[in-house]
C-alpha cells in the first residue's frame, strides 16, 4: 500500500489550546501539522512542551480552543461528543505508556475489547483479536492473562488492541516509557513492521533516542512546532 498525495489522516491548522489559570497556560500555540496515510511520525518534546495536549487533540479526547482539527477527513470541531466517540471507535487506535490492560482477562479478550464499541459480536471480536495477536507475534499467548505477561508482551497486546479495529492511524503515547530497553526496542521494531505494512503511526515521546529511529520527527517546545524533519531515505 503506497500512498503519495492522498487526503491526510491528520491535519491541524493553527491549533490553539490554553488552560485557565493565572497566568493561563498556553499548551498549544498555533500548531499546524499534517500526517499522510502510511507515515511513521515521532512527536518529540520535553515535559511541559504541550505534547500531551497535542496527543489529546489528535486523539479527539480534547477539543482545540481555536484552529482547525481534521481527523480522518472529518472536522472535529463540528462533531458532537457522540460522533467523536464513534470516530475514536473506528478511526483511532490508542497505545498508552501504562498499557491499561485488564489484569484478570486473557490477552485475547483484552484485544477483543478494542472492538467493544463497534457493535461487532463477541465471536467476531475474538476471531479478529486472535488474528491481530498473531500479527504482533503473540499467537501463543492468547489465553494468558494480562498479569501473566511480561512488560513487552503487555505492550504488544495493547498495540494489538489498538490495531484490531483497523483504525486510520495508531496514536502511541510513550509506548516504550514503561519498558526496559530490550522490550522497548522490540515494541519499536513492531511499530516499524506495522509501518512497513502500511499502517499510519504517530508516536509521542520525550525520548530523542526513540524519535531518532523514526523516519519523521516533529519537535515541539512551548506549544509550538520547532522543527519538522524527514530522515533521509524515509518513505
Amino acid at each position: 500500500m503506497t500512498v503519495t498525495t492522498a487526503e491526510p489522516v491528520i491535519r491541524l491548522r493553527d491549533v490553539h489550546r490554553r488552560y485557565p489559570g493565572r497566568p493561563p497556560v498556553r499548551a498549544l500555540d498555533g500548531v499546524s501539522l499534517s500526517v499522510a496515510p502510511g507515515e511513521l511520525v515521532a512527536i518529540v518534546g520535553p515535559s511541559g512542551s504541550g505534547k500531551s495536549t497535542l496527543l489529546n487533540i489528535l486523539g479527539t479526547l480534547d477539543r482545540a480552543d481555536a484552529g482547525e482539527v481534521c481527523i480522518d477527513g472529518r472536522d472535529v470541531g463540528t462533531l458532537s461528543d457522540k460522533q467523536l466517540s464513534a470516530l475514536r471507535a473506528h478511526s483511532i487506535g490508542f497505545v498508552f505508556q501504562q498499557f491499561f490492560l485488564s489484569p484478570g482477562v486473557s490477552a485475547l479478550d483484552n484485544v477483543a475489547d478494542g472492538l467493544l464499541y463497534t457493535g461487532v459480536s463477541l465471536r467476531e471480536r475474538r476471531r479478529r483479536a486472535a488474528r491481530t495477536l498473531d500479527r504482533v507475534g503473540l499467537a501463543d499467548r492468547l489465553r494468558h492473562r494480562g498479569n501473566e505477561l511480561s512488560g513487552g508482551q503487555r505492550q504488544r497486546v495493547a498495540v494489538a488492541r489498538a490495531l484490531v479495529g483497523r483504525p486510520s492511524f495508531l496514536l502511541a503515547d510513550e509506548p516504550t516509557g514503561a519498558l526496559d530497553s530490550a522490550s522497548g526496542a522490540a515494541v519499536l521494531k513492531l511499530l516499524h513492521e506495522l509501518h512497513d505494512g502500511g499502517t499510519t503511526v504517530v508516536v509521542i515521546t520525550h525520548d530523542h533516542g526513540v524519535a531518532a529511529e523514526l523516519p519523521r520527527q516533529v519537535h515541539i517546545l512551548d506549544g509550538r512546532i520547532e522543527s519538522d524533519e524527514y530522515l533521509a531515505g524515509a518513505s
Partner: protein, 397 residues
C-alpha cells in the same frame, strides 16, 4: 466509514457490567449482602404469614366452617347456664346435622391429688360432656380413650390438652387418678388441642350421668355445639337464640368458631406490615451500601473510564455500564435474599408443621424492588462517571 457509529450491544453492556463486579468479588458480595438481608426479611415475613394463613385455611377446610356454638351471653350473673331443654330444641331444627353439649359443673375443681391447696385450681373447668361431643367439634384423642355410654356413668375423666399439661399427666393407662370435686377420678384419655372449641383445652371432661349422680350437676348445658348444613349456617344462626331460650333470647350468644380462627389469621397482618416496613428499611440501607460502593468504584476506575472513552465509548455507554453494574449488584443481593427468605420460610413452616406458601407476587415484588434500588443507587455514580472528561480520566494515573 463516515456513517459509522459507536455502538455497544445490550449483551455486551451486561458483560462489561459483570466483569466490573468480577474484578472485585469480595466487595461485590459484601455490598450485595445488604440488599440480600432486606429482601430476605421481606420475603420471609410475607412467606411466613402466607404459610400461616394457608395453614389456617387448610385447618378450616378440615374442621369445617359449619360449627355453631351457643352459650349464655356475657352477663353479670356468674355461672350462667342455658335451659336444660336447649339440646333437644336445637336438635329439632331441620338444618342441624348434629348437636352436642358441655355443661360446667359449678364450684368444682380438679387437682393432681388431695394434698393440693384447694385455691390452686389452675382455672381448669370441670365440665360434663355428652358422648357425641368429640365428633361434633372435630376433636381427636391424643392418648387413651374418649367417654362412652358405659364410662360416662363412672368416675372417669378425659383431660383437655392444656389441662393434662397443667396437671402433669401423660399416662392414660387407667392407673392415674385425679382429685376432682372431692372424689378420685381415673384419667381415661387426653385430647389433642381443639381449634374450634379452645375452651375444651382447659377443661376436665366427665360423663353427664356421673356429674349428676356424684357432683350434683343440674344437667343444664353451658355450651351447645351444633353442626349445621353448609348452606343454612346464617339462617340457623338467626333462629338459635329463640330456639334455645324462647323466654329470653337476648341472653343467648351464638358464635361461629371458624370465624374467630380466620380473624386471628387476619390480625397477624398488622405485625406483618410492620415487619415488612422493617425489611424495607434494611433494603434502603442495603441500597445506600450499593451506592457507596459504586461511588468508590467510579473514583477508583477513572483510568478505565478514560480507556473506554479512548476505545470509542460514548458517555451513554459509560453511564449504562455503571448503572448496569449497580443493578446487577442489587439483583445479586435480591436473588440471594429471595433464596434466603424462601429457605427461612420453609424452615419456619416445617418447624411449625405448616404448609409452605410463598406467593409469586412477593418474588416479583422483590425482583422489582432490587432493580429499582439498584438503579437509584447507581444513578448518581453512573452520571458522574459519564461526565468525566476522557483526558482527566487518563491523566489521573
Amino acid at each position: 466509514m463516515t456513517a459509522a457509529r459507536s455502538r455497544l450491544r445490550p449483551r455486551d453492556t451486561v458483560r462489561v457490567a459483570f466483569s466490573g463486579l468480577r474484578a472485585r468479588p469480595l466487595r461485590a458480595v459484601l455490598s450485595a449482602l445488604g440488599i440480600a438481608v432486606g429482601i430476605a426479611a421481606m420475603v420471609a415475613v410475607v412467606g411466613i404469614s402466607a404459610s400461616s394463613r394457608e395453614q389456617v385455611n387448610q385447618q378450616l377446610d378440615a374442621l369445617g366452617t359449619n360449627l355453631l356454638t351457643v352459650a349464655p351471653s356475657q352477663s353479670f350473673v356468674s355461672e350462667a347456664e342455658l335451659p336444660r331443654e336447649a339440646i333437644d330444641m336445637v336438635g329439632r331444627l331441620d338444618a342441624v346435622e348434629s348437636v352436642s353439649a358441655a355443661g360446667i359443673v359449678p364450684g368444682t375443681a380438679v387437682y393432681r391429688n388431695d394434698e393440693i391447696d384447694p385455691n390452686q385450681t389452675n382455672a381448669i373447668a370441670v365440665s360434663a360432656a355428652r358422648t357425641d361431643l368429640l365428633d361434633t367439634v372435630s376433636a381427636t384423642v391424643a392418648s387413651g380413650r374418649w367417654l362412652d355410654d358405659v364410662l360416662s356413668a363412672f368416675p372417669v375423666v378425659v383431660l383437655g390438652a392444656d389441662t393434662a399439661e397443667l396437671l402433669g399427666i401423660s399416662r392414660t393407662d387407667g392407673d392415674v387418678q385425679v382429685w376432682l370435686g372431692g372424689e378420685w377420678f381415673t384419667v381415661a384419655g387426653v385430647l389433642d388441642p381443639v381449634p374450634l372449641a379452645p375452651e375444651l383445652d382447659t377443661s376436665a371432661l366427665i360423663g353427664w350421668p356421673v356429674a349428676e349422680s356424684l357432683l350434683g350437676f343440674d344437667g343444664a348445658p353451658t355450651t351447645v355445639y351444633q353442626r349445621v348444613a353448609e348452606g343454612s349456617v346464617d339462617e340457623v344462626r338467626a333462629l338459635l337464640p329463640a330456639t334455645v331460650d324462647p323466654a329470653a333470647p337476648e341472653e343467648v350468644a351464638v358464635s361461629r368458631p371458624s370465624d374467630a380462627l380466620a380473624a386471628q389469621a387476619a390480625t397477624d397482618e398488622t405485625l406483618t406490615t410492620l415487619l415488612l416496613a422493617l425489611g424495607g428499611v434494611a433494603l434502603l440501607v442495603g441500597g445506600i451500601g450499593v451506592a457507596n460502593t459504586m461511588v468508590i468504584a467510579v473514583l477508583e476506575r477513572r483510568s478505565e473510564v478514560g480507556l473506554r472513552r479512548a476505545l470509542g465509548a460514548t458517555r451513554a455507554h459509560i453511564r449504562r455500564q455503571f448503572l448496569g453494574e449497580s443493578v446487577l449488584l442489587a439483583a445479586l443481593g435480591g436473588g440471594g435474599g429471595a433464596l434466603l427468605g424462601g429457605a427461612a420460610t420453609a424452615a419456619f413452616a416445617s418447624s411449625r408443621e405448616w404448609p409452605f406458601a410463598l406467593p409469586v407476587w412477593v418474588l416479583a415484588g422483590a425482583a422489582g424492588a432490587t432493580i429499582v434500588v439498584g438503579a437509584l443507587a447507581g444513578a448518581y455514580p453512573a452520571a458522574r462517571a459519564a461526565r468525566m472528561p476522557p483526558t482527566a480520566a487518563l491523566s489521573s494515573v
